[in-house]
Amino acid sequence: MNEPAAALEFLGTVELQIPSKPEWVAVARLAISGIANRLPFSVEDIDDLKLATAEACTTCIQSASGSESIDITCEVAPDSLQIRVRDHNFGGTRNDPPKPRSVTLSEGLGVFLIQSLMDHVEYNVDPHSGVELIMTKRVGV
């Protein structure tokens, strides 16, 4: 049976904000597991999504950006899940100069794992608003 056209359209967005603390990363993993279960991902793919999201959160926590929270936004499509993980490198007002930070997203095992486990990964780095990691996994790839 052919899939109806509507099935190829965007399904929805799920947003989660967690404190930028190690004990909350497990909550992000659980949430991603629940969201990924809405799509026909394999068990292995869901494990990959959990690990990649946790690695992104861990990168935010260990970056010492001073961000108090991490935003996780999931764009759920019938054939893919896009996860955006963003911290906030901003401790004052918009008129303050940006905090210095070393962006080490291209380094380390964590980022290597993310790039290996996900189908598409990109970064948006803004010294004022923080770092955003966008990663996508497609079903059945």
Binding site: E23, A54, E55, C57, T58, Q62
Partner: protein, 114 residues
């Protein structure tokens, strides 16, 4: 979320660190403390049993790598026990299969230390 760490002396002049649960940015310091304590006491041949570990991330891998580096400075070694395909996959992706001895069985891991 939990991590269980059990340390026991074994034969072949080895110590076994048996881990259970999830090793991530929150729980890995506890694993690091256990391994560091053993090394500080002069035990340089370690078997780390991951059979009851459901999840490990880069911080957990970092702890294992750190332990291996320290024991190698004293002529020691770290062997792992792991049969979980998802965890073995992570060691495979990161190339750590080449620096750790990874065994299906604790006895084999201990024997290989000597």
């Amino acid at each position: 979320m939990d991590i269980k760490v059990q340390v026991r002396e074994s034969d072949h002049d080895a110590y076994v660190v048996e881990l259970g649960g999830e090793i991530d940015v929150y729980t890995s310091p506890k694993v690091k403390d256990a391994i560091t304590e053993l090394i500080d006491q002069g035990h340089y041949n370690l078997v780390i049993n991951l059979e009851k570990v459901r999840y490990i991330d880069s911080t957990g891998l970092g702890v294992l790598i750190g332990g291996l580096k320290r024991v190698r400075e004293h002529g020691g070694s770290v062997n792992l026990v792991c049969t979980n395909p998802q965890i073995k996959k992570i060691f495979d992706i990161t190339g750590l299969v080449k620096i750790f001895g990874i065994y299906d069985d604790e006895q084999d891991a201990k024997k290989a230390l000597t």
